[in-house]
């Protein structure tokens, strides 16, 4: 499927901002199952400095500095992205989870290192004993990794409530775990921490989710949303995406922007502003299918 994505974020400040720095992870990257054909980022007001680079995880990253006073900042990214249906391994035929780490540490090849780097704690997915015992219920010894991961995804979907008011971007994972509620990035972090507590490599994915219009109605403009999920490493198959918020194996309705160890590595917009007072944010995301996949 080919999508045209429009993602517009507008910040309004109650007191003018005299000066600000931002790091943006808004431009989609290319994956084996996804190609970004085109992407353009427009920023208003025009930044004093704008630099593009590729970050450690190979995501496109943009740095901007605004040195002129402004009361509003608009970041608008428009991309054309092609997402392909991927062949998924049969869960029961994937490698036993408890063999994975051992085989990765004794393998110095680049693919092994690329997987291994996602097997450890990160700032937002710290190990706790509770998380480990929660995870263990899905991973008895010798269980195929994807089977275990799907079971864990289901349990998180079942045991946790989606609640926009329960957490903020700063809420630590153990509080989410104790409170049993949160939003997509909390669930992604939770599952990542569970998998990593067992040293199963897993990475955070930031992206978009295509929404469907209610039966018989037109889809509202701007009603799609940014989303977060995760991928688990299945030797022989690569990264398999899971969505604990919706209890889904990810398919062509998920459009990825970037990957990292957790939210902190790929947050869409990170900033330090001087002045500014209170701020409001408006986000409008439209993910429109414009054609069938062309790549094979």
């Amino acid at each position: 499927m080919i999508y045209e994505v429009s993602h517009r974020t507008r910040y309004r400040y109650s007191i003018p901002v005299s000066f600000s720095h931002h790091v943006l992870h808004l431009s989609p990257r290319t994956f084996p199952h996804q190609v970004c054909h085109r992407t353009a980022l427009s920023i208003s007001p025009t930044p004093t400095i704008q630099t593009a680079r590729t970050d450690y995880f190979a995501n496109p990253e943009t740095h901007i500095t605004l040195q002129e006073q402004h009361s509003e900042l608009v970041l608008h990214v428009r991309s054309v992205i092609e997402v392909r249906e991927t062949s998924r391994p049969v869960p029961a035929e994937t490698r036993p989870w408890d063999e994975i780490y051992g085989s990765l540490v004794s393998d110095i090849s680049e693919p092994a290192r690329n997987a291994l780097q996602f097997a450890f704690d990160s700032p937002r997915t710290r190990y706790t004993v509770d998380l480990r015992s929660y995870a263990t219920a899905s991973f008895p010894p010798g269980r195929p990794v994807l089977e275990g991961a799907l079971d864990l995804t289901r349990r998180i979907f079942r045991d946790f409530d989606y609640d926009k008011t329960a957490t903020t971007v700063w809420t630590p994972i153990d509080e989410v775990f104790a409170g049993r509620r949160g939003v997509c990035q909390d669930f992604a972090h939770l599952e990542l921490a569970c998998l990593r507590s067992l040293r199963v490599p897993a990475r955070y994915v930031s992206g978009y989710l295509l929404t469907k219009a209610p039966e018989g109605k037109d889809k509202l403009v701007g009603s799609d949303a940014s989303h977060a999920w995760l991928s688990v490493w299945c030797p022989g198959h690569g990264w398999i995406d899971l969505d604990p918020t919706n209890n889904l194996l990810v398919s062509v309705e998920h459009v990825a922007i970037g990957i990292g160890r957790d939210y902190g590595d790929v947050s869409l917009v990170n900033g330090v502003i001087f002045g500014g007072g209170a701020h409001t944010i408006e986000v409008a995301v439209d993910v429109n299918p414009i054609g069938a996949a062309t790549m094979s």
């Binding site: 450690y56 500095t65 989710l209 869409l268 701020h279």
Partner: protein, 859 residues
């Protein structure tokens, strides 16, 4: 069993070695158990032995005094509940003979090169991982591997600008590296300070012994930085954290010695991908940041987003190579204990050399064979976190000794190791050597380790010939037990020949061009100086007023009129405090009961806002943070003043004569401090801000006292005027000028309007006007800044005031015009303070790390 040693000295009982009972099984730095003091110690032992008791005591007293003066600075920590000084300085240095030092130096220089090469690889091509020389997991699991720093390559390849190693000596006499410090090695400032104290106390020993000087090392460090910037007059700042007391003093000492500006993250800003220092004169570009805080904290944009200590955009500036950060951001990666086990091999791989200095045998439990070994030999090792280096002073949760575990604990530990082995290292138990300390008139052996510092210089790494030696308080020689609160020592590296002296050094750097600019004044330093001025003056004003009131309490205060006046003065002093006003009971109990209680609270209660104790604590805090700007004498005066103010009181109720004595001493000490401060400070912006703080506080205080005493009733009748003249220290001037009992009009003239009286309101206003006009402009003329408007308007009001109108009272005896003028002063001076703060101290532009992501939403 402790071995008795052969005695040195004529009479056994007087020998300084009489208590030197060797700790069994370990090496002693000074004493060869078979032959007595080792040759390199003999001159020292003989020297101390030869000192008369009086000389020795004189020396110790001098050392103690110097430590106290210096320790005063450290005692800022006491305010934050941290022990006063991180360690006591013992006067017996550690002596390292020349041949041993040559080996240590070569070993440490090699180690610095090695660790630098490891950093360059891991933050670059990662060939060590590709070739399997280092397990990838060891790097990926390390929280100090900072991904955003990957690929930031210093132009000259120097990731590790300074490095420190903690060394210990095993029972066989060999030196070992116990710990590596690569993040932001601390302690060089303390080593320098220890040397300074020792050299001032003990000049004879320095003359008799050839000891390597430390100055050469610092000059090389400095030259190394100059070369790195490619400039002969670069701006170098030392990035510190004022709240972290132990390292702050280390940094402030070092910054002062090297002439660098001490800055906090908030003093720096990144514009156009370049780093600038915010000074009262505006933004000035920075060439090199000597990083004194952990890498993680340095950039809230890309590293720890919750850090308030960093500089947003610093990583981008480092990537753009517009600034050098030393050590490079992320350098903490290689100081983890887990790395130690791999260094011997890495040394051969990267440098094609054998590691000269061994380090403590270390097994990273993230590898199966290592883990197996550790489980089998648990009794012989200490288990510790793999990646969290111990801070300079140790920490509360030390390593676990396998031999200390119960069977149950053993099982638990083994289980944890098997589950998450990569989080842990095992190390062989380090047994340290002992070295003498001085206690109760004799030498005693104590376990010790020494931190040695290495810096990049023009021609490769160079070691500081000396270091920071720490000794244990007990005789348990296990390295893990060196903790906070224990002793420190100077470290003398001996030389066979006379060592290079400062004059040699000077000719070496004779090509250095003279400094072209005066010292930068970071905005926050200006802020501290301004408040230092305000607190010093506040303490002085309060104490003078209290002295005048208390003096009158000794006389028979039967005149109710006079008591009313005294209460009015006290009420002005209490105005901003939460001390209770006079109660009915107190009025019934006796005329001066409430005044006594209130003064007692004001002067001696510890937690009264605007009271003396809090003011003096604030004075000390701001003075400490302004240390670089104060002379040593001013500093000593402040130390005495603080001692005076916080001296504990005689037990029991308020004592008038004691309070008089205390206020006399305090006024004296405060006057000494202000005198030194004005005499010794160069007339730069630093002085201006300090003086503005003083003038503003004095003007404000005076206006409020005048308001309290002059606007109603009959000041000519009730003693108010004499009291006022006394409080304002203007009684002599008045007598000399008027030769009469105080009258309203001349008193108002002298204390409010006379610009020639340094104790008048008008004098303060005129001084403030001049200061404000001489500050760097914040708006372009003819526009005026807020501060300029406020002070100009006040100055005009004071200059236009007419005495007869000010003296006029209405039918109720109320002097409305006088009251209005004084109220205006009372209200406007704090506003002036706010305007100066806004324009010059940079806090107005509050920085906020904002997480600009909306709460995630999805279908």
């Amino acid at each position: 069993m402790n071995a008795r040693l052969p005695q040195v000295g004529a009479e056994d009982h007087q020998s300084i070695l009489r208590s030197y009972d060797l700790i069994p099984g370990i090496y002693d730095e000074m004493m060869d158990p078979a032959a007595g003091p080792r040759p390199h110690w003999q001159p020292f032992v003989a020297g101390v032995q030869a000192m008369t008791e009086a000389d020795l005591n004189g020396y110790l007293r001098k050392a103690e005094r110097m430590l106290r003066d210096s320790g005063f600075a450290h005692s800022l920590a006491a305010l934050a509940g941290v022990p006063e000084r991180p360690w006591e300085l013992d006067f017996v240095p550690l002596l390292i003979p020349a041949e041993e030092w040559a080996l240590l130096e070569a070993g440490l220089v090699q180690r610095a090169r090695l660790l630098n090469a490891v950093l360059a690889d891991l933050y670059g091509p990662q060939r060590l991982l590709e070739n399997g020389h280092l397990p990838a997991a060891l790097v990926f699991a390390n929280p100090h591997f900072l991904r955003p720093c990957h690929g930031i390559a210093p132009r000259d390849g120097i990731y590790l600008n300074t490095y420190a190693a903690d060394l210990g000596r095993g029972p066989d006499g060999r030196w070992w590296v116990v710990a590596d410090r690569t993040q932001a090695p601390a302690g060089a400032g303390y080593a320098l300070e220890n040397r300074l104290i020792m050299s001032r106390c003990m000049p004879n020993f320095f003359r008799q012994t050839h000891i390597h000087r430390l100055a050469v090392f610092f000059q090389k460090l400095h030259n190394g930085l100059l070369v790195r910037t490619g400039r002969d007059d670069p701006r170098i700042v030392l990035l510190t954290d004022e709240a972290k007391v132990d390292s702050y003093f280390d940094h402030s000492y070092l910054a002062r010695y090297l002439g660098y500006t001490l800055a906090e993250g908030a003093d720096l800003t990144v514009r156009q991908n370049k780093v600038y220092l915010k000074t009262v004169e505006g933004l000035v570009p920075v060439d090199l940041i000597l990083r004194g805080i952990d890498s993680e904290l340095c950039d809230p944009l890309e590293l720890d987003t919750q850090s308030s200590l960093g500089v947003a955009g610093l990583l981008q500036a480092a990537r753009a190579r517009t600034v050098i950060v030393a050590n490079a951001l992320g350098s903490g990666l290689v100081e983890s204990k887990a790395m130690m086990g791999f260094l011997p091999n890495l040394c051969r791989v990267l440098l094609d050399e054998d590691l000269i200095l061994p380090n403590t045998a270390t097994w990273w439990c993230g590898q199966d064979d290592a883990l197996e070994y550790v489980v089998r030999n648990l009794d012989a090792v200490a288990i510790d976190q793999a990646f969290e280096p111990r801070p300079l002073l140790g920490s509360t949760s030390g390593p676990i000794l396998g031999s200390d575990l119960t069977d149950r604990q053993r099982e638990q530990v083994i289980q944890r190791l098997k589950r998450r082995g990569d989080d842990f290292v095992a190390q062989e138990l380090v047994v340290l050597s002992s070295t003498p300390i001085w206690q109760e008139g004799a030498l005693h052996p104590r376990p010790m380790s020494v931190r040695v510092f290495i810096a990049a210089s023009e021609d490769g790494y160079t070691a500081m010939p000396g270091g920071l030696t720490r000794v244990s308080a007990t005789d348990n020689p296990k390295a893990a037990l060196l903790r906070r609160g224990q002793g420190a020592k100077d470290t003398w590296v001996l030389s066979h020949s006379p060592t290079s002296t400062y004059s040699l050094l000077r000719s070496r750097v004779g090509t250095m061009s003279p400094r072209r600019r005066s010292k930068d004044i970071p905005s926050h330093s200006a802020d501290n100086l301004f408040w230092l001025g305000r607190y010093a003056e506040r303490a002085e004003d309060m104490t003078r007023a209290v002295r005048s009131v208390v003096r009158r309490l000794t006389e028979d205060p039967s005149d109710p009129l006079e008591v009313t006046v005294l209460q009015r003065v006290v009420d002005v002093l209490l105005d901003k405090t939460d001390i209770a006003p006079a109660s009915n009971d107190e009025v019934g109990a006796g005329v001066t009961t409430s005044i006594e209680r209130q003064i007692n609270s004001l002067m001696f209660e510890p937690a009264i806002q605007y009271g003396l104790q809090i003011t003096v604590a604030d004075l000390k805090r701001t003075a400490t943070l302004s240390r670089d700007w104060l002379s040593l004498e001013a500093w000593r005066a402040l130390s005495r003043l603080h001692l005076e103010a916080t001296r504990s009181r005689l037990p029991g109720r308020f004592d008038v004569s004691e309070t008089i004595e205390r206020t006399e001493d305090l006024v004296q000490a405060l006057a000494t401090f202000s005198g030194l401060e004005t005499e010794n400070m160069t007339r730069d912006y630093g002085w201006r801000f300090l003086d503005m703080g003083r003038r503003l506080e004095r003007g404000w205080h005076l206006a409020r006292i005048l308001r309290g005493l002059l606007v109603r009733d009959e000041p000519e009748e009730d003693g108010s005027l004499v009291l006022l003249l006394e409080v304002a220290d203007s009684i002599m001037t008045y007598r000399w000028r008027y030769l009469a009992t105080p009258m309203m009009a001349p008193v108002i003239d002298l204390l409010l309007l006379d610009e020639t009286n340094p104790r008048s309101v008008a004098f303060q206003i005129a001084a403030l006007l001049q200061h404000v006009d001489n500050l760097p402009a914040v708006v372009s003329p003819p526009a005026r800044s807020d501060a300029q408007r406020i002070i100009l308007s006040l100055s005009t009001a004071v200059r236009l005031a007419e005495i007869p109108i000010l003296c006029e009272a209405d039918a109720d005896g109320y002097r409305g015009t006088l009251a209005a003028l004084l109220d205006r002063l009372d209200a406007s001076l704090p506003r002036l303070s706010e305007a100066i703060t806004r324009d010059y101290f940079s806090h107005a532009e509050a920085r906020r790390p904002v997480d600009l992501k909306p709460a995630a939403e999805e279908a």
